[in-house]
Every structure is written in structure tokens, then in C-alpha cells.
């Protein structure tokens, strides 16, 4: 077993503000830890080892196998899911920071409220105008295939927090994760609110802040392509308006 050095972001705005009267005194800093790294160790396990050394260190995690999307962090400058990212090959000391552009609650734990608000804004559920059938709404295998590459999103937030457009306008731009879900329902043959969905995306902000920077594609731990989905939305919008 080899020892690995990690430098993690530490910041406790609440406690620091309490112990020191001037809130401006509360400053983030990087703290270096050394942990034993068995072969195949994932970043999440290293963070757990750090927590064993210093229990005040905070980060989110849950399933440990890339399904729940809780442990998105910024590793050596790139967003990733800690639980499925091996650390053996990385440059040391490994720099672990919270997802960029989000307010820090404590250490690696960030406030994702705006991210979820943008997700909610695209109405990520089937909308039917016809009366609901007695049983299921049928869909052909070909139509079902159109949802591949869209439904797999676990909402970890790696993409949106890597997107400069989302950094500048997180209150107005939906961001790649929400727009991928917007296309997921636009592309669904069972959904009947295409026009309303497209109308809701008009204007310079919600959709059109995307400048195809493609950070989202680069960091998505599920290998999805929000930029392509955004392109499809623009195409459909064009098709419906000329």
C-alpha cells in the first residue's frame, strides 16, 4: 500500500463567523492529509479516510457506486463523482474542492438550490392533454430508443456547475442538466406539451445562454451529452417556427 497526499478545501462559514465576530475573518483554506491507498481506491474512500482522521470534515455521499449522484466534487480542477473516480494515477497532492460556482455550506458541501430550481422549471414529467388511458400509454421501441442518453441522468450537478454560462446566470439560465431533461420530455412520444415547453424556453436566457462550450460533455460521469440535447431543442424550435 502506498500513501497518497490529498489537499482538501476547508470552509465553515457558520462556525467561523460565530467564533470570530467579523464574518470577513472566515476564510476558506486548503488542508493536506495523507491516507493509505490500496490498489483501485476511489476518491470517495480517500475522503472517508480523511473523515476518519478529522471528523469535522464534511462531504456528501451515499450509494458509493455512481447511482445516487450525491458526491460530485471538483478534483484537480475537473468535476467528477468521487465514488467512481480512481485516484492512483492522479498528480499529487490531489486537490479536492467543492463544485464550482455554488455557495459553500461547509467544506465540500454546496448549496444546490438554484440547480434544483432550474430542474423544476423545465417541468420534468410527462404532460398529457388526452384523457389518460385505462392502462399504460403505449410507446413503440423506436420512440423509446429516442430517450436513451437522456433518461440516465442522475442529477449530480457536475455538468451545470462546470458550465461558465451557469456560473454567470444561475438564476436565469437553466443549465445543461435541466436542459437535458427538457429535451428528454420534448423527445418523448407520449408527452403532449411540446409547444408550451418550447415557448417557455424562448428569450435570451433560459436556453440561449448555452454557447456550446461543452464542459458539460467533458465532465458528465454518465457519459451523456447535454450540448447535443440543447442543439436538438434549438433544431425543434426552428422547425416549429419557420
Amino acid at each position: 500500500m502506498t500513501a497518497i497526499r490529498l489537499s482538501v478545501y476547508r470552509y465553515q462559514p457558520d462556525r467561523d463567523a460565530e467564533s470570530r465576530p467579523a464574518a470577513s475573518d472566515a476564510k476558506p483554506f486548503m488542508q493536506t492529509f495523507e491516507v493509505e491507498a490500496p490498489p483501485g481506491m476511489m476518491l470517495r474512500e480517500a475522503l472517508l479516510a480523511i473523515k476518519a482522521q478529522d471528523e469535522t470534515f464534511a462531504f456528501r455521499h451515499s450509494c458509493g457506486e455512481g447511482v445516487c449522484g450525491s458526491d460530485g466534487v471538483n478534483l484537480n480542477g475537473t468535476n467528477c463523482l468521487a465514488c467512481i473516480t480512481p485516484i492512483a494515477e492522479l498528480n499529487q497532492p490531489i486537490q479536492v474542492r467543492p463544485l464550482p460556482g455554488r455557495p459553500v455550506i461547509r467544506d465540500l458541501v454546496v448549496d444546490m438550490t438554484q440547480f434544483y430550481e432550474q430542474y423544476r422549471a423545465v417541468e420534468p414529467y410527462l404532460i398529457r392533454k388526452d384523457p389518460l388511458p385505462e392502462q399504460e400509454i403505449r410507446q413503440s421501441p423506436e420512440d423509446r430508443d429516442k430517450l436513451d442518453g437522456l433518461y440516465e441522468c442522475i442529477l449530480c450537478g457536475c455538468c451545470s456547475t462546470a458550465c461558465p454560462s451557469f456560473w454567470w446566470n444561475p438564476d436565469k439560465f437553466h443549465g445543461p442538466a435541466a436542459l437535458l431533461q427538457s429535451w428528454r420530455f420534448l423527445a418523448d412520444s407520449r408527452d403532449q406539451a411540446t409547444e408550451e415547453r418550447l415557448d417557455a424556453l424562448e428569450g435570451p436566457y433560459k436556453l440561449f445562454r448555452c454557447h456550446s462550450i461543452m464542459n458539460c460533455v467533458e465532465v458528465c460521469p454518465k457519459g451523456l451529452n447535454p450540448t447535443r440535447a440543447i442543439g436538438k431543442i434549438k433544431e425543434l424550435m426552428l422547425e416549429q417556427s419557420v
Partner: protein, 113 residues
């Protein structure tokens, strides 16, 4: 541009103008690289020839429209205070308008002179 049309239309203007700018820009680059005019008279004759004049006449408004969408994107992204943003937008709008009219005047002068 209305608020409703400011997304899709701006994006479309940007994409379509980009195609023309790329093609005509390539022609300009090749022309000035391989057969550049030797003096002002040659330049004026080139700019006054019907096809080039037509090409330039289309090029100028498309270039300005493309630049307008681009600068508007930059200002929307980075400049938050409303007054400053509107001021800068107005400044660029005036600058682009002046540049366009100036270029148009030059083209007309080449034709009549």
C-alpha cells in the same frame, strides 16, 4: 427585437451570418494574399466591380449583425448592472451603426467616383 424573439432569432442570425462571413472572408483572405491590389486605383476598381460590390454590400450588414449578437451575448453574460449594460449596448449599437454607414458611404463613393 422583441423579448420573445430575442433567443431563437438572435441565434439564427448568428448562424446564418457566420456561413456567409466564412465564405466571403475566405475569398477576401485569398484575394489579399495572392492578388493584392498594388495601388488605390486598383483597390477602387476591385471594390467597384459589380460582383465584389454586391458581395461587400451583403458582407457589411451581416458582419455587423453577427458582431451585434456576439457583443450582446458577452454583455448579457458578464455585465450585470442594468445601467452599465444598457449604456454599453447603446455604445456598441451606435458604433456599429456608424461603421455600417461609413462603409456604405465608401462603397457609394467608389461607385460614383
Amino acid at each position: 427585437m422583441s423579448r420573445r424573439a430575442s433567443g431563437l432569432k438572435a441565434w439564427l442570425v448568428q448562424r446564418i451570418s457566420a456561413v456567409y462571413l466564412a465564405l466571403f472572408g475566405l475569398y477576401l483572405a485569398l484575394y489579399f494574399a495572392f492578388a493584392p491590389p498594388q495601388d488605390h486605383a486598383q483597390l477602387a476598381a476591385w471594390a467597384g466591380s459589380p460582383w465584389v460590390a454586391l458581395g461587400l454590400l451583403v458582407f457589411i450588414p451581416l458582419l455587423l449583425a453577427h458582431a451585434w449578437v456576439g457583443i450582446r451575448d458577452v454583455l448579457i453574460d458578464y455585465v450585470k448592472p442594468l445601467g452599465l449594460r444598457v449604456g454599453l449596448l447603446a455604445l456598441f449599437a451606435l458604433m456599429f451603426l456608424a461603421s455600417g454607414l461609413w462603409a456604405l458611404q465608401a462603397l457609394i463613393l467608389v461607385q460614383v467616383g
